[in-house]
């Protein structure tokens, strides 16, 4: 599907891929293949089977991407699952539930946890899981990762990281567990 502006209020289902300038979803959208757009705002749920490439992606709610997700800017409030690489210059995540990506890479990566109810805390812990996180400036909260590499790395509360490699600065919260931290 090719369009200039896509606006979905309610429920949308696109069987193939989508190419557009501007996309706004209030409700939910399911896309069968790849998405390419300039700017996308999703309030609700966005699900893409393939890869999603955009300039800016803003999501309040839930995001599910089968392949890679690339953008200049990703602002996320809620939870996400990304099957491949999340690649964006500026990544800002406020977690309301479980978040998962295979790899995350970019310039600035900020992951914070938002306060949630006790019920949600027990059943859907707001926690990010990733194999590798790489960026110039990294701030992480409540993240489980195998490797974190960066220039300036700050590990906030509630993290479990097997290995940190940093160049300039490294800080770690007392409550977090870091296996090895190496300057190099």
């Amino acid at each position: 599907m090719k369009a200039n502006i896509v606006h979905i209020a309610g429920k949308g289902h696109v069987a193939g891929g989508m190419e557009c300038e501007w996309m706004k979803v209030s409700g939910s959208v399911k896309i069968g293949e790849n998405v390419q757009c300039q700017e996308a705002t999703v309030h609700g749920r966005g699900s893409v089977k393939g890869a999603w490439a955009a300039e800016t992606i803003r999501v309040h709610g839930e995001l599910e991407i089968g392949g890679d997700c690339s953008a200049e800017r990703l602002e996320m409030e809620g939870r996400f699952t990304i099957g491949g690489l999340l690649n964006a210059d500026h990544i800002e995540v406020k977690m309301f539930g479980p978040c998962r990506a295979k790899e995350i890479g970019g310039e600035t990566i900020m992951v914070k946890k938002h306060g949630v109810s006790l019920f949600k805390k027990l059943f859907f812990p707001a926690e990010l899981t990733a194999d590798v996180i790489e960026g110039d400036i990294i701030y992480l909260e409540h993240t489980a990762a195998k490797t974190v590499r960066g220039n300036r790395v700050t590990i906030g509360p509630g993290c479990q990281v097997e290995r940190v490699e940093y160049r300039e600065a490294f800080e770690c919260d007392k409550e977090s567990k870091v296996g090895t931290a190496e300057k190099g």
């Binding site: 890479g105 600035t108 590798v132 590499r149 290995r163």
Partner: protein, 209 residues
């Protein structure tokens, strides 16, 4: 062919670029996906690159990034031919071909005046070969022929042009994918050229004009 690899960390140290830049260039497809080689090491997942190729590419990006936008750069590095049509004069002005070559070519091709990228690439390669004196114009025709008949099949693939001469007879080959090659003793390997390098140079020349 075993190629030397470099880890991402070493690469960043050596070239002085940041993670942000590397990921941005990957996103803009300035660095092809297949150069990112994932391997498990004792320190966890690491990414490696073919050393020679990535270093050359990053050097080029650094040279050009102030003059061209990232999207323009992506066009230059993409292996798919750019959609261009140049007239004889434009091709000359951009120093893609010398006057003699273009004159003979257009005579040979019934006075052709407008050239597509597919016409220009073999001409550009041939021009370089003739300039170096390794090849004569008559032999050069076989270079043009091999490109004309076989190059469309190699679209988007990396390939090499080989020119072999034995007892005064010249043979011209296009070989997809790099592999080692051994030539018998009496035969002479006149030239072995990496076509994507010429594609990059040519695109750059076209965009400069």
């Amino acid at each position: 062919m075993e190629q030397e690899l470099i880890s991402k960390k070493e690469l960043l140290e050596l070239t002085g670029i940041s993670y942000g830049q590397l990921y941005r260039w990957k996103r803009k497809k300035l660095i092809p996906e297949e150069w990112f080689i994932h391997k498990s090491t004792f320190t966890g997942q690491e990414t490696f690159f073919p050393k020679e190729k990535i270093l050359a590419r990053i050097e080029r990006i650094k040279e050009l990034k102030d003059e061209l936008s990232l999207d323009e750069l992506a066009g230059i590095f993409s292996p798919n031919p750019a959609a261009v049509m140049l007239t004889k004069e434009e091709a000359l002005k951009r120093h893609i071909v010398s006057e003699m070559v273009v004159q003979r070519y257009s005579e040979w091709k019934e006075n052709k005046q407008v050239f597509s990228f597919a016409d220009l690439l073999p001409l550009y390669v041939l021009d370089q070969l003739l300039r170096s004196g390794d090849l004569s114009w008559e032999e050069g025709k076989s270079v043009l022929n091999v490109f004309e008949t076989h190059y469309p099949k190699l679209q988007g693939k990396s390939c090499e042009l080989l020119i072999i001469r034995k007892m005064g007879v010249t043979v011209c080959l296009l070989m997809a994918g790099g592999s080692d090659m051994y030539v018998e003793q009496e035969a002479k390997l006149v030239a072995q050229l990496h076509v994507p390098t010429f594609i990059e140079e040519l695109k750059l020349k076209i965009s400069e004009g």
